[in-house]
Symmetry: C2
Subunit: 359 residues, 2 copies
Amino acid sequence: MARVYNFSAGPAVLPEEVLQQAASEMLNYRGCGMSVMEMSHRSKIYQQILATAEADIRELMNIPENYRVLFLQGGAYQQFAAVPMNLMKNRVADYIITGQWAKKAWQEAQLFGTANAVASSADKGFSYIPDCSDLPISENADYVYICENNTIYGTKFHTLPNTKGKPLVADVSSCFLSEPVDVTKYGMLYGGVQKNIGPAGVVIAIIREDLITEDVLPGTPTMLRYKTHADAGSLFNTPPAYGIYICGLVFQWLKRIGGLSAIEARNQEKAAVLYDFLDSSDLFHGTVVKQDRSLMNVPFVTGDEKLDAEFVKAAEAAGFVNLKGHRTVGGMRASIYNAMPLEGVQKLVAFMKDFERRK
Amino acid sequence: MARVYNFSAGPAVLPEEVLQQAASEMLNYRGCGMSVMEMSHRSKIYQQILATAEADIRELMNIPENYRVLFLQGGAYQQFAAVPMNLMKNRVADYIITGQWAKKAWQEAQLFGTANAVASSADKGFSYIPDCSDLPISENADYVYICENNTIYGTKFHTLPNTKGKPLVADVSSCFLSEPVDVTKYGMLYGGVQKNIGPAGVVIAIIREDLITEDVLPGTPTMLRYKTHADAGSLFNTPPAYGIYICGLVFQWLKRIGGLSAIEARNQEKAAVLYDFLDSSDLFHGTVVKQDRSLMNVPFVTGDEKLDAEFVKAAEAAGFVNLKGHRTVGGMRASIYNAMPLEGVQKLVAFMKDFERRK
């Protein structure tokens, strides 16, 4: 089989030219005589790979100098603990519950202090983003936490919450580098890279310098302290070196195609193709309130579970894979991350139209 | 430049045929139409990769059924905290200090309880392994901890300590899969894979089932609980999926060449070539007590720092790279892990002989 159109929610499709480059450099990176997998992380050649990756993401996201970029491990889930361990000076934080991942972060924070759920969209199956313009933010909250794009439910904060002066901490795993972002609006944003950037096993955290302190909760492991990694330039111990290299290749791909404004335009065009069809279809419909729709994850259903299953099976046979929805939402979900070409979405919609015609 | 002989202490040389296979499968894994990097970790095809990797390491190491194999993240350093957080029921453990990594593990454990240094070889620059046949093991120690092969100093426990009935916990990062091992002698053994097995970013932990409990220290992050990963078969959250795939290719390579007895024979032959030369040379000499020498990491010096530097530079120009010793030992270090061919060591020794002749 040739390459498929892979709508996986993550790990997910990567740019084909990045994979080609990785394959061609696998045994001998640019004439140095070894694979990136085989390089000492203390070697000049690897440090150049890491430094270039950091410089490129800084350029792409226009990250101010007073923010540090950390390459970490353990997935977003490990950050659910690291965030309170590092930032909960008063042992109080406010969480906005817009889906499973926000909820899990909130539950993990309760191991370390008082974590208040100040808003939630659980009442309607997380199909919308609550109004966060005037929430009851706790006076002594150390931060306000959101999951900015909800992979499972297909919602996105198009307006960031009013945190009333408290630092905003955002899990951006599934919208990382999908559009321009104003980093100064966040105290910290972080995400696993395995949706929009690279292979699973790397987390990129962007943290305002004043939030990186020695003053962490007692019993915080050295590896979970942000200061450990900030002081060592992400080389405190052996980093996930090959994964960071792939992230770097993706950053260079993004720069070549015009940066985050260019990818945003592509993502809007792709999403419009799918959402416009869903809005006009008699068979398929989206599950999310229109104004809160994600550009990255598009859940949809027919309303008939058997028909959903039939569609997923037929689509897979036609080379559109990983369209089965998350078990908590059911139906289908098309994740159309940066590396999904417009053509993939157009062909999927053509396939859906054909499926609908035959019903 | 063609492929070099890479004597890096880690990340380190990998088998060339593994890299070739990874390159050839990069865009399309065995006809499935996507890279392993792009696969959902919940997909059948990826779960097969993970299950095969686990079955293969179980076969290679003859791991008994009452031990679990966990694929984790965060490097050995994260285990320095996870070990006490999970195992320190009495908040007491005994550490044997045979180098920097054992020392760091011991220091990290002090965040969580009483960590006793019951033996040390610091008095002679960690150039030997202390007699551990009758140590003052604490009556209520939850475990006894060692770093089994000391990457920096080139020593190895050829006899495991007498733990007087306490579970033995061993960091085996730099001797993992280098020779047959009796797993039943350990409560837990674990290591980062980036020396002998795969790309940095994966830790493999092998833990006796009765040591995996709900009863962890308060404030232990969900991601640092062994039970989290044991219950979920290493799929609690997205694992470092591509790294595990490469580890799996290395396991298959080891099986093809005859398993751990065969690789042990190769490793003994390689190490003998280098140690025999060091023992006969007038210029170069090893830094470790003979009976405690590692098969994997071979530090050596000329006794003249300038000459050491000259040698490292000349060797690099000749295609023998990463021979500079760790800054705390100085001189040179040749790490000759599983994937270093005999030819690489023979050629290095020929180069050293030639260098000596010219002095």
